[in-house]
């Protein structure tokens, strides 16, 4: 931590009293061991250290970022920013700095996992399907974040995470599974491999079925995709400001079985306990019994909409992107996987969606495909594996009142098209889902 104190201290000394200033530093060690064709083929490890400087004065704001090698001297870095401030345009949505009282000390000295630990998990995964072709990754992350501002805020935090994710392929099928945890020691790669291998074996020689409206049971990854689209395009307050959010606060917009909570305070939650403004995050009800109660806010969006800041300023994207929920937990229900299947007269089980894209953000009509394990369900039993289907379906309507038949009784971290470690979800049983194309188009 000493190097950070030193860099932070040097920069702070250069900040004149006449400006509002925020200094952020992100130090990351990330590594990813990647396998394909059942062996490790790419194995990467990265250490980065980036500094973000924001200065505001007389209604104007300037933002600069460099990694610490790019900062030739603290004095020069700050001077460059100050010199550019005059050229900057008016910043009409400036919402100020986080107050000193929000300071949070969460920095911890943690050690990153080593490549042997990741390789061992890959081995455990691959051996669960030795007759098949395995591909995937095991990744580990260790991030330290420090933020200081001229209000006197001094916050820091440390987060660690680890993931195992993979598929098995046969000549005619594939199956996938995924796990995430705060610590690599809590990943069960064998169980993850078993699940993926079973899906691959069971979905061999799929049949084509006609597109149309089907009752569906969605696996963890498929549910995660729906929720991450709602989160990024709907619950993000920036979408509301831009007139593009379909979310209607305090209305029965979703089925009453839908309860979504943001849980940054939980010990098993992945990620920082503070947001990118340095403020402590809190557990927050987002949707209760189908009724949305808030958007994800940043300082700027809460000011613009005159709503309470929920502290969802996100790391790694420009702050004008808006707020994103990073610890979303869809409440699990009480229906087991087998009970879900046995309750379906005719329907489809989908493990994972693929390449989903929004056709219109305000209707949340999304198109995408299924992959890595899809089955036809007839008279309460899985009868046949099925091939690719294209859906074109409003994700909002898929969770609308009356369309959620049941919620699964087991929940886990699921991957999504916007990243891992953000969503912990159960399976969902939906009354209707619109498939608009089959394997032949």
């Amino acid at each position: 931590m000493n190097i950070w104190k030193e860099v932070l201290g040097d920069l702070q000394k250069q900040i004149p009293n006449s400006v509002e200033c925020e200094l952020k530093m992100m130090h990351s060690k990330s590594a990813l061991t990647r396998f394909a064709n059942s062996h490790i083929h790419q194995n990467v490890d990265e250490e980065s250290a980036d500094v973000f400087l924001t200065i505001h004065k007389d209604g104007k704001t300037i933002s600069r970022s460099k990694n610490i090698t790019g900062i030739k001297s603290s004095k020069e870095f700050v001077k460059e920013a100050l010199d550019s401030l005059d050229e900057s345009p008016k910043d009409t949505t400036w919402a100020g700095l986080t107050s000193k009282s929000e300071s949070y000390e969460g920095f911890q000295e943690l050690h990153e996992a080593n490549p042997e630990e990741r390789a061992n998990l890959v081995r455990d995964f691959v051996k669960e399907g030795e007759d098949m072709n395995a591909a995937g990754y095991c990744s580990t992350y260790l991030n330290n974040f420090f933020i200081w501002n001229t209000n006197g805020l001094n916050s820091s935090d440390t987060s660690s995470s680890a993931f195992i994710d993979g598929i098995f392929r046969t000549d005619t099928s594939a199956g996938s599974s995924h796990r995430g945890a705060v610590n690599i020691n809590n990943l069960d790669a064998s169980q993850t491999g078993k699940e993926a291998a079973k899906l691959a074996v069971d979905s061999q020689n799929p049949i084509d079925i006609d597109p149309g409206k089907y009752e569906v049971i969605l696996g963890h990854e498929a549910v995660s995709t729906i929720l991450v689209f709602l989160s990024v395009y709907g619950l993000n307050a920036k979408s509301k400001i831009d007139g593009m959010s379909p979310i209607l606060l305090n209305e029965n917009q979703f089925d009453e079985k839908i309860n979504l909570i943001d849980t940054p305070e939980d010990s098993e939650s992945i990620g920082f306990k503070i947001d990118a403004s340095g403020a402590k995050k809190y557990n927050l009800e987002i949707i209760k019994n189908g009724v949305p109660s808030t958007y994800f806010h940043t300082r700027r969006t809460s000011k613009e909409l005159n709503m309470e800041n929920t502290h969802h300023e996100f790391f790694g994207v420009d702050d004008y992107f808006g707020g994103i929920g990073t610890n979303l937990n869809l409440d699990k229900g009480n229906v087991s996987h087998s009970d879900m299947i046995s309750s379906v007269k005719k329907g489809i089980y989908i493990n994972e969606f693929w390449y989903c894209r929004v056709l219109d953000p305000i209707t949340q009509v999304v198109t995408g495909l299924n992959r890595n394990g899809s089955f036809l369900i007839e008279n309460g039993k899985i009868t046949k594996p099925i091939g690719r289907l294209r859906f074109t379906q409003s994700f909002i309507k898929s969770l609308s009142p009356g369309n959620v038949i049941s919620v699964g009784d087991k929940s886990r971290y699921a991957d999504s098209e916007f990243g891992e470690g953000m969503l912990k979800v159960p399976k969902l049983h939906l009354k209707e889902f619109n498939f608009t194309g089959g394997v032949s188009g």
Partner: protein, 478 residues
Amino acid sequence: MFDLLNIAIDSAISSGAKYSDARILVSKSRNIAAKNGEVENFNESEKIGLGIRALVGSSWGFYSTYDLSRESLISSGKKAFEIAKASAVVSGKETPFADVPVVQDEYTTPHEENPFKVSSTEQIDLLVNSTEQMKKLGSSRSSGRLDFWDTEKWFCSSQGHEIFQNIIESGGGISSLSVGDGETQIRSYPQSFGEYRTGGWEVIKSFEFGKHTQRLAEESQRLLVAPQCPEGVMDLILEGSQLALQIHESVGHAIELDRILGWEAAYAGTSHLELDKLNKHRYGSELMNIVADATLPGALATFKYDDEGTPAQRVEIVKEGIWTGVLSGRDSAAIAGVKPGGMVRADGFSRLPMVRMTNVGLLPGESSLEEIIESTDNGIYMETNRSWSIDDLRLNFQFGCEAGWVVKNGKIIDMVKNPTYTGITPEFWGNMDMLANENEWVFWGTPNCGKGQPSQIGHTGHPASPARFKNTRIGVRG
């Protein structure tokens, strides 16, 4: 910088790597975004660092760091080796590596005005004025963005390469969004998400945003009251930027050799193409001639050497509808038995180089767009991408565009909203029966191609002119 790189490479080789290469990058970016006549974001960033890779047995080990001290460089070389060595726990066949000429050279993107030397005020004003005009003309949300990248890159290999390149890229665009009763409609220029090329400030000036603001504002509002795109099987005419994305998704990714070999199977998917069908498989109609050309002046994916030191080149991919080539790197080419294509690039110093599209484009035909429309009895002309989705074999796709026009008996008669089309790759390309000529051939650029784990964003180019596709399924809705 070459001395620093060789310290790290020597360390990897002396540790036991059979091959190693390394890059030091100084990457500068300037990003400006405006909305409704006001600046929404203005950020400049600079990153400096080293990325080194080492080949041991069947795996690459890669390490990157911001620390360029001698001690760190030696440690980085050792780490790259040790990371690769750890892969032996789950190893495969030894990875071969094709030879390429060992060169010492340098290259700078030809440009007239370095965008970082142009006043940011001038750049900001362009966006503020353009978005203000569209807002005044009734746009619910007018937006614009400009992005500039200046990348200095030093590359060395254990075989003796010493290459310096300075790649300068510029791009941006404007759009008008109109919000109606439960729907939004958008029009963008030059294409959705902006148009990007290698070059300087002159690239942006050539777009002449001011000449397009009125059209964008009017069309986005007109779309709100326009009828829905009809459903059915009919002729489809694609404007150049949409065809560029069609090439990107249904050809560019499918011909990546790392996908074909299964290296991307879990994440990005594989390909419907199999190597034993090279030079035999019919990809499309005889009008279909695709090349991957990293030497096109001004196109977004133009450079002199890739991130393995292989010279940029022009590779034939599809000739008169027959699949003839792939996108390859030194390892994948050696496995497949083809010549290395110089198509391996990394997203910054901290990412492992991987097979990337260069300028994968459709060579122009002989018609004009006017002639294509005049010869169409019943079809839809679609402009500017709005959504895209394709399966993991790059076969089954569905695209949505911002605007469509009904074409009847050789004339455009009506604007329609929410136009979509869907198809299967070889069947779709097999139905291409008219292709516009070089007068309408544009070097479209895609600055946001995602691939790889950890995720990498690639800059790719797709020269294309408008084309017609017979018997296409149009108007899919949810």
